[in-house]
C-alpha cells in the first residue's frame, strides 16, 4: 500500500448526508473483476445524465452540469468534504477504489459507515472525522471559496486551511502508523502465523465440529 504523509490539494464539497456506496459506485460496474478503472464511474448517476456501463468511456458521455464535481475548479480536487454517515450501505470496496482512482486521497466528514471506513484505510485513503458543526462551517467556506486548497499533515494530525486556520484531528494510532508507513496488512498479520496455528490447534480440540465439516 502507498504511504500517506502530507497532501496539499483542492477541496471539493459534497453537501449531502448519508451518501451510500451505491451512489459512490453503482452496481452495474461491480461486474468488473479488476481493482482499477472505477474512477471513471465515481458517483455515476449524479455525474452523468446518460446511463453508464463498463463498456462506455466517460468521454463519450453526457456530463451533468449541475453536479458539483463537474465544475472546472474541482477538476484537480484530491480532498472531499461531505456530511454525516458517508459510505453507508453495501460493503463494496469498489467505493474507495473508485474514490482513490478518481483522485481523492482524503475524505472529511462528521461520521463514516464502519465498513467503508475500514476499506478506505486498506487503500491508502485518509479518512478524517471532524465535528458536525465544524464540517457544516467548512462546507460553507468551500462553497464561498470554490477551488480553495488545504494542506493535510497526517504526522502532525493537522489540516491547514486556505485562510491559515489550523485544525487538529484525531485518528487511531494503529491506522495512522499503517498509513504513514504504507504497511501491508497481510504481511503484518502473518508475522503471527505460529500464534494463529496454536490457537487453531486448541480450537480444533475444544470445538471439533468447526473443522473438516464443510466439504465441496
Amino acid at each position: 500500500m502507498q504511504a500517506f504523509k502530507t497532501l496539499e490539494a483542492v477541496v471539493a464539497p459534497l453537501d449531502r448526508a448519508n451518501v451510500d456506496t451505491d451512489a459512490i459506485i453503482p452496481k452495474q460496474f461491480l461486474k468488473s473483476i479488476k481493482r482499477t478503472g472505477f474512477g471513471a464511474y465515481l458517483f455515476d448517476e449524479w455525474r452523468f445524465l446518460d446511463a453508464g456501463s463498463l463498456d462506455k468511456q466517460p468521454d463519450d458521455r453526457q456530463l451533468n452540469p449541475d453536479f458539483i464535481l463537474n465544475q472546472a475548479c474541482y477538476s484537480d480536487a484530491e480532498i472531499l468534504i461531505t456530511k454525516k454517515n458517508f459510505g453507508c450501505g453495501s460493503s463494496r470496496e469498489h467505493a474507495p477504489w473508485a474514490l482513490a482512482d478518481y483522485g481523492f486521497k482524503v475524505i472529511i466528514a462528521p461520521s463514516f459507515a464502519d465498513i467503508f471506513y475500514n476499506n478506505c484505510f486498506k487503500n491508502g485513503v485518509l479518512v478524517i472525522q471532524l465535528s458536525e458543526q465544524k464540517v457544516d462551517e467548512l462546507i460553507e467556506h468551500c462553497l464561498a471559496n470554490p477551488g480553495c486548497a488545504w494542506k493535510v499533515d497526517l504526522e502532525q494530525q493537522q489540516i491547514e486551511l486556505d485562510n491559515g486556520e489550523l485544525l487538529e484531528f484525531d485518528i487511531e494510532a494503529a491506522r495512522r502508523e499503517h498509513l504513514l508507513q504504507g504497511l501491508d496488512d497481510i504481511g503484518l498479520t502473518l508475522q503471527h502465523e505460529q500464534l494463529i496455528k496454536d490457537y487453531e490447534t486448541k480450537r480444533r480440540q475444544s470445538k471439533p465440529w468447526l473443522y473438516d465439516a464443510i466439504k465441496p
Partner: protein, 475 residues
C-alpha cells in the same frame, strides 16, 4: 468474573492476540464467498504466491449476478459470465468448497449458510457483503468486510479489528397479527436512524424477539447494517438449537451434544453492561412503508409522508427534499396513494420459506392489479424453492400473475436483468431504497412480504391488518 455481553463472549473466544494499538487479532471460523467481492482477493493471493490458510472454513456460491430465468442457456452478458466463471475457476484452483449455479443448494449466500449448517452458533462469520449481519440471529459474530479483508482472511484466517461498542435493543410485548419482523426492524431504523448503530454490535432482545421465528430473527439481524451496525445478535435459545438439527454441515451424534452444551452459554450474563440501551414496545409497531431514499425514511401504513415542518434538522429537511424529487412524491401525501408498477419478493432479507408462505396467504385466489407490470417471487435458495413447490406455493403465485424465478439476489441490487426502469415504483421486500439501487431511476418502497403481496393485488399499499380482519387469514 465480570458479567459479559454475548458480544463480549464471542470476541474473547476468538481473540488470538490483544493488540496494544487498539486492534485485536480475531480468528475467523467461516468465510462465505460470492462472485462480486472475491475475484480481486483471489488475484491478490495469487500475485503474492499465497495459499488459503484453511480450506474447510470457506464456502463459495454465486448469487449477486446470476440470472433468475433461462438458466439452461448461456449467460448473455459477457462481463457477468466472466465474473461467474472467475469464482468457479478460483475455487477449482484453490480447492475451496463451491456450490455451482446448477446445484439444487445454490442460493443467496446468507440463506444457504444457515441452511447448510455452515453458519453455526458461537462462530465468527465474514463475507464480502454487508448483510452478513444476518447470521447474528444464531448467536454468531458475523459481519461484512471489504475485498482486502476477504484476502486477509483467506491468507491468515484472521482479521485485525477494533472491538465495537455494545448496544442493546429490547422490544417488549408482542407484535400484532400482520406486523412482521420486517416491520419491526424498519420501525427501529426509523427511530434510531441509519447511523444509530454505527460503531456498535446490536443485541436484539425482549419478548417480541424471543417470539420471532428463526427466519424472523434473520430478517431483523440482516438489517442491523441499515441502522449502521455491522453486527446484529440474538441470544441462542431452543429455537436456534432445533434449527441446526440435521443440517448437512452441522455436528452430529456425540459431537452434537458437545456443541449444544457450548451453544447454550451463548447469551448475555445478567447485569452485563451495555454502552447504549434502547427499549421499544412491539404494540407501537404498525406495518411500515418506506417513502424516501434511505431506510430510515419509513412511516406507518396508515400515515402520510412527513413534511419539512416535521423536522428541526436542516440535514433531514434537505434529505426529504432530495428524496421527494427523486421519488416524484409529495410531502404530506398518504402512503396508500402511491401508485405502484412492480413488486419484488425476495433478497437475503425476505426470501425464506416463511416469507413465501406468508405472501401466499395474501395472494391465494386473487390476481395482480392491472397497473402492476411485473411481480417477481425469487426464492432465497434452490431448497427454499423446492420446499415452496412441494407446498404448492408456486401455483398460488403463478395463478395470481406473479413470476416464479430461480434463486439469487435478483432485483434487490439489480446486477442481473431483474430491475426497475426509470420512474417505476416498486413494493420490495429487500433492504435498501437508495437512489438507483433497483435500477437507474427506479423508486423502491421497502415493506414486508405480506405488505408487498397485498400491494401487488391492490396496485397500491394497503394495510394488511384490514385484510386479516376480512378474511381472518392467519399470517
Amino acid at each position: 468474573m465480570l458479567a459479559q455481553t454475548l458480544y463480549d463472549k464471542l470476541w474473547a473466544d476468538h481473540c488470538v492476540l490483544k493488540g496494544e494499538d487498539g486492534l485485536d487479532l480475531i480468528y475467523i471460523d467461516r468465510q462465505l464467498l460470492h462472485e462480486v467481492t472475491s475475484p480481486q482477493a483471489f488475484e491478490g493471493l495469487g500475485l503474492e504466491n499465497r495459499k488459503p490458510f484453511r480450506l474447510d472454513a470457506n464456502l463459495a456460491v454465486p448469487d449477486h449476478n446470476v440470472p433468475t430465468t433461462g438458466r439452461e442457456e448461456a449467460i448473455t452478458d459477457p462481463i457477468a459470465a466472466l465474473q461467474l466463471k472467475t469464482l468457479q475457476d478460483n475455487c477449482d484452483k484453490y480447492d475451496i468448497p463451491f456450490i455451482s449455479m446448477s446445484d439444487q443448494r445454490q442460493g443467496i449466500v446468507h440463506v444457504i449458510g444457515p441452511e447448510q449448517g455452515a453458519t453455526l452458533p458461537g462462530t465468527t462469520i465474514v463475507c464480502g457483503d454487508s448483510h452478513t449481519a444476518t447470521h447474528g440471529a444464531f448467536g454468531a459474530l458475523a459481519f461484512g468486510i471489504g475485498t482486502s479483508e476477504v484476502e486477509l482472511v483467506l491468507a491468515s484466517q484472521c482479521l485485525r479489528q477494533k472491538k465495537m461498542r455494545n448496544m442493546r435493543i429490547q422490544v417488549d410485548g408482542s407484535l400484532a397479527p400482520g406486523v412482521t419482523a420486517k416491520d419491526l426492524i424498519l420501525y427501529i431504523i426509523g427511530q434510531i436512524g441509519t447511523d444509530g448503530g454505527t460503531g456498535c454490535a446490536i443485541e436484539f432482545c425482549g419478548q417480541a424477539i424471543e417470539e420471532l421465528s428463526i427466519e424472523g430473527r434473520m430478517t431483523v439481524c440482516n438489517m442491523a447494517i441499515e441502522a449502521g451496525a455491522r453486527v446484529g445478535l440474538v441470544a441462542v435459545d431452543s429455537k436456534t438449537i432445533d434449527y441446526f438439527r440435521g443440517k448437512p454441515f452441522a455436528p452430529k451424534n456425540d459431537v452434537w451434544d458437545l456443541a449444544v452444551n457450548e451453544w447454550e452459554k451463548l447469551k448475555s450474563d445478567p447485569g452485563a453492561g451495555f454502552d447504549a440501551d434502547i427499549k421499544f414496545n412491539a404494540e407501537d409497531i404498525a406495518p411500515q412503508v418506506s417513502y424516501g431514499t434511505s431506510p430510515e425514511m419509513v412511516v406507518d401504513i396508515d400515515s402520510t409522508i412527513p413534511t419539512q415542518s416535521d423536522f428541526d434538522d436542516v440535514t433531514k429537511q434537505d434529505q426529504l427534499s432530495n428524496a421527494m424529487k427523486y421519488m416524484d412524491l409529495q410531502e404530506g401525501m398518504p402512503v396508500k396513494d402511491i401508485q405502484l408498477d412492480k413488486v419484488f419478493i425476495g433478497s437475503c432479507t425476505n426470501s425464506r420459506i416463511e416469507d413465501l408462505r406468508d405472501a401466499a396467504t395474501i395472494v391465494a385466489n386473487k390476481s395482480l392489479a392491472k397497473n402492476i407490470k411485473l411481480a417477481l417471487i425469487v426464492p432465497g435458495s434452490g431448497l427454499v424453492k423446492e420446499q415452496a413447490e412441494s407446498e404448492g406455493l408456486d401455483k398460488i403465485f403463478i395463478a395470481a400473475g406473479f413470476e416464479w424465478r430461480e434463486p439469487g439476489c435478483s432485483m434487490c441490487l439489480a446486477m442481473n436483468d431483474d430491475r426497475l426502469d426509470a420512474g417505476e415504483h416498486c413494493a420490495s421486500t429487500s433492504n435498501r431504497n437508495f437512489e438507483g439501487r433497483q435500477g437507474q431511476g427506479g423508486r423502491t418502497h421497502l415493506v414486508s412480504p405480506v405488505m408487498a403481496a397485498a400491494a401487488g393485488i391492490y396496485g397500491h399499499f394497503v394495510d394488511v391488518r384490514d385484510l386479516l380482519e376480512v378474511t381472518d387469514a392467519s399470517v
